[in-house]
Amino acid sequence: MGTFFKNLYRNKALLFMVLPGAIWFFFFSYLPLAGTVVAFKEYRFNRDGFWASIARSEWVGWDNFKFLFSTSDAYTITRNTLLYNLAFIVLGLIFSVLMAIILSELVNRKLSKLYQTGMFLPYFLSWVIVGYFVFSFLSMDRGLLNQILGWFGMDPIQWYSEAKYWPYIMVIVNLWKSIGYSSVVYLAAILGIDKSLYEAAMIDGANKWQQIRNITLPLLTPIMTIMTLLAVGKIFYADFGLFYQVPRDSGTLYAVTNVIDTYVYRGLMTTGEIGMSAAAGLYQSVVGFALVMISNYVVRRMDKDSALF
């Protein structure tokens, strides 16, 4: 025991340094983890505070989960979350690698930089702003898209109440916002490739296409795989801003825009079904945890340095 305190004392300066952060992690990461027990309770708010609310709510076992999975909501939100993320991962990978190769091959470097600057912009904007941008295109009576339809003699479309268009809209908006950023990541990897490889290929008479196919792409494969696996690890978490702001919380679109995160939020703030949405949250956390562990394990097997931990 004495050595323990002696060690504490010896490390006191460094311990002071981690202290604020450690307290933060305790309150904002570890305590909420304990709070997930409300998924097994019928939550009743108690004015005596946090502990009283948890302790005095009644245990209901798996009831919240039974309710959740007996509704069609559980299926809808799981399907939406998984399919959208899958589309984002696959299309995002294809387009950002293509764009990175295009940017790296442009003869005029200044133009290439200019394009990168343009593409990077959406990444810096919040989903609220992007929501307004989308509205300027999709507004029923004033939007640009309905005007364009009008030029071709077509009837205007009530975009914000027609669910069938939204899977495409969501994918396009997400790609629009993210491709610039991810192609710069891949571009950095391409620029890091040893130039002598290309010179050797040129001496052997390989043209540019052969160089791309046989040097650039194979050397990008590891980072492509790792970025993809890390994204797969997060496939159970949706981008709340995208699914909440861009469809403007339109009820008629819920079938195609409700994801686990928006479902949990609505349970907490609007419908008041705290138990059920806490159950959905815990379901997300558990499956999400398993997926992160699996994907990280696979990444670790491939390349130790790229693993998260």
Binding site: M17, G21, L31, F50, L121, L125, R142
Partner: protein, 319 residues
């Protein structure tokens, strides 16, 4: 051979084609260069266009909007939207103030906390190094979720309707800690810390006088990440803020939107709803607010971009 054909298609004279042939292997053919320029250029334009479009709408005269909608070239321009905002601009000004305060305090708080934490766990002679590394890393793997977090912040910490509810939830991030830890261990040689110790400096002194100056690029990157995070945050305001005096910019834009929709959807009594709609900023004014909320980012953008790309490569050492 293929290259030569491509060059011919692009209309290069034969002699020049032959002359360039040796260089062809370095570059794509001129035709493909044009195609690549078109693809990248069009996509870049598509990324910037919506912002320009919103700027145009904000300068459109409200009276022509109803008849012609949002136009790329409206028939009548006007500064009315901006005049309206600056005359009745209390709300906007206050929201700006909240956002600036939150961004400044938040970035400072999170930088100090992250920098100290990352430094301590980068020190090899820190006895509890492993414990605190794992303590941070674990938080990247699980997530208590929105509801328990809400309960802790609102009920236990009592931060509802407090400015700290906008600051604290974003203050730490295990991912940034890992980036910065890697940065310290690759760019600050151990010998420097040792020599500082021999000279009799304490840990905090070493940190301030040796570590901070050497790791400025890394700190700048993390600082920019968190500045952007605070400036663009609306989620914490959505959960924790009801007090209209504490609403940040992004959240204010959101609220205007949803009250518009609420009135439009519940407009059984059209007199009342017309009056209520009249009290809200009109289309052009809302777009002008979007422009004003985005402008600081556009100005800081070249700066941001440089450090972000640098940050990607900082992370790439481990990431």
């Amino acid at each position: 051979m293929q290259m030569a054909r491509k060059a011919e298609k692009a209309g290069k004279p034969k002699t020049e084609r032959l002359k360039r042939k040796t260089r062809d292997f370095h570059r794509i053919s001129p035709l493909w260069n044009v195609i690549f320029n078109l693809i990248a250029g069009l996509f870049a334009a598509a990324c910037v266009f919506p912002f320009i479009f919103v700027v145009i709408i904000s300068f459109t005269d409200e009276s022509v909007l109803a008849s012609e909608g949002y136009r790329i070239i409206p028939s009548k321009w006007s500064l009315e939207a901006y005049r309206y905002i600056f005359e009745s601009g209390d709300t906007l000004l206050r929201a700006y103030g909240v956002t600036i305060a939150v961004t400044l305090i938040g970035t400072a708080v999170s930088l100090v906390m992250i920098a100290l934490y990352a430094y301590a766990i980068s020190r090899k002679n820190f006895r509890y190094r492993r414990f605190f590394s794992i303590f941070a890393i674990l938080t990247m793997l699980f997530n208590g979720g929105m509801i328990p977090t809400y309960m802790v912040v609102a009920q236990l910490l009592g931060l509802k309707n407090s400015i700290w509810a906008l600051i604290l939830p974003l203050a730490m991030n295990a991912f940034y800690i890992m980036i910065l830890r890697t940065f310290y261990s690759t760019s600050v040689p151990d010998a420097l810390v040792e020599s500082g110790k021999i000279d009799g400096a304490g840990e905090f002194r070493i940190f301030l006088k040796i570590i901070v100056p050497l790791s400025l690029p890394g700190l700048a990157t993390i600082g920019l990440f968190s500045t952007l995070g605070y400036w663009n945050d609306w989620f914490n305001a959505l959960l924790y803020i009801d007090n209209p005096n504490l609403v940040p910019l992004q959240s204010m834009l959101m609220r205007i939107e949803s009250s518009m929709q609420f009135i439009q959807q519940n407009s059984a009594n059209s007199n009342i709803s017309m009056a209520a709609l009249g009290s809200l900023p009109q289309d052009t004014a809302r777009m002008a607010m979007v422009v004003l909320a985005t402008l600081p980012i556009i100005f800081a953008y070249p700066f941001f971009q440089r450090y972000f790309v640098q940050g990607l490569t900082v992370g790439a050492v481990k990431e």
